[in-house]
Amino acid sequence: MPKLDLLLMFAGVVLSLIVFSYLLGDKLFFGISMYLLVGVTTGYAAVVLLKRVLLPMLVMPLMDLPTIPGLLALIPLLLSLLLVWSLFKKSSKIATLPLNILTGILLATAIFGIVRGTLAPQLLSIVDAFDPKLVVKGNLPNWTAIFEAFMMLLGVISVLFFFHHRNKRDKVYESPRPWMEGIKVVGQMFIGITFGAVFVGLFSTGLIALIASLERIIDFVRLWL
C-alpha cells in the first residue's frame, strides 16, 4: 500500500476513534474533529460555489456584454452587490431588497412543491384506493383491497384530527365531542406505529455506518498484525 494511502487510512481511523470518544465524555478531541469537518466542508463548498456557480453563471456571461445573457446577468450582479452592501449598511432598506426577493421566490417554490408534490398526490392516492377496479376482483369483492382502502382513510383522518386544536376551556375527559377524542386515540396509534418504523429504519442505517467504522479500525489494526 502506498505511504500516502496508509497515512490517509491512519487519519481516518484516528478521526473515527475521536468521534467515538464522545461516548466517554470527551469534549476537546471531539470538538477538534467537529471543527475539522466544518472547516473542510466549508472550504470545499466555497470552492465549488465559486468555480461551478458564480464563475459560469455570473462572471462569464458578463464577459459577453452586450449580449442578452450578459445583460440578464447584470440583474443578479446588482442584487449580489446589494447583498454584499448589506454587510456594511445593515440598516439600509435597499440592502434588504435581494433577501426579500429571495425569500419571496423560495416561499413560492416551497408552496408549489407542497401543493403539487405532496398534498395533491397523497390525497389522490387515498381516493384512488377505492377504485372499483381494485376493490372488485372478478365480480367478487376483494376484501384485502377494501380493508386496506378503509384503513388508509380511517388512519389519515384520525392522524389529521389528532392535531385538531380544541378550545382551551374543553377538558380532555369532559370533552363536548367524545368522538373527537376517540379519533385522536386512533391517530396517536398510527403516529406511534409510523415513528417506530421510521426509528428502526434510521437505527439500521446508523448500525451499518457503525459496522463500516469498526471495519475501518479493524482493517487498519490487521495491517500491523
Binding site: V19, G43, I111, G206
Partner: protein
Amino acid sequence: MKDRQGIVIIALAGILFLLALFFQPKTSAILNVIINWTIVLSSVALLLAVARLITTHMRHIAVGRRGFLFSLVFFAAFAAAFIGGMFMGEGNPEYLKWIRAIQLPLETALLGLLALVMMSLAVKVFRERGWSVLTISFGVSALFFLFLNLGFLKSGVNPGLDRFVIALKSLPVIGARGLLIGVALGALVMGLRVLFGQVVENE
C-alpha cells in the same frame, strides 16, 4: 417583520413567481432565468455567510477567546480545503482523495454514533414520555420492525403469516401519509399567510 416595504417585496416576488410556476410550460423560459438568478443569489448569500464565519473565528483567535483552539482548527482546515481546491481544481482526484479522507470517516463515525445514541435513548423512552397510546404503539412498532429487519420473520414459510406481515408493514405508511398531509397543510397555510402579508409575528 414590521418592515412594510419588505413585506410588499416578499409578497410581490412570491406571488409573481407562484403564478409563473402554475402557468408552466408557457412561462418556462422566464422561470429558468429567474431560477438561475436565485441560484446565483443563494450562492452569494452562502459565501457571505462563510465570510462572516471566517471573520468570527479569526476574531476568536485574535482575542484568544476560550476555545480558540477550535477556531484555529477550523481556520486551518478551511484554508487547506479552499486553497487546495482553488489551485488543484475542485474535481482533481488527489484533492478529492484528501477531502474524502477527512469527511468520510467523520461522517460515517457520526452516523455510527447516532445508532449508539438512538439505542441508549430508546430504552428510556417510556421514562421520558410516559405510558400512552403513542409511546406504546411506538415501542411495539419499533420492536416488530426491528425483528423484521433482523430477519426473524422470514417470508415463504407460511402464506397466511406472509399476508399478515405484509399488512402490518403497510401500517406505517398510513400514519406517514396522515403526518405528511398535516405538515403540508401547516406549511401551506404559513407560506400563503406570509405571501399575503399577514404579519408573521406573534405580536
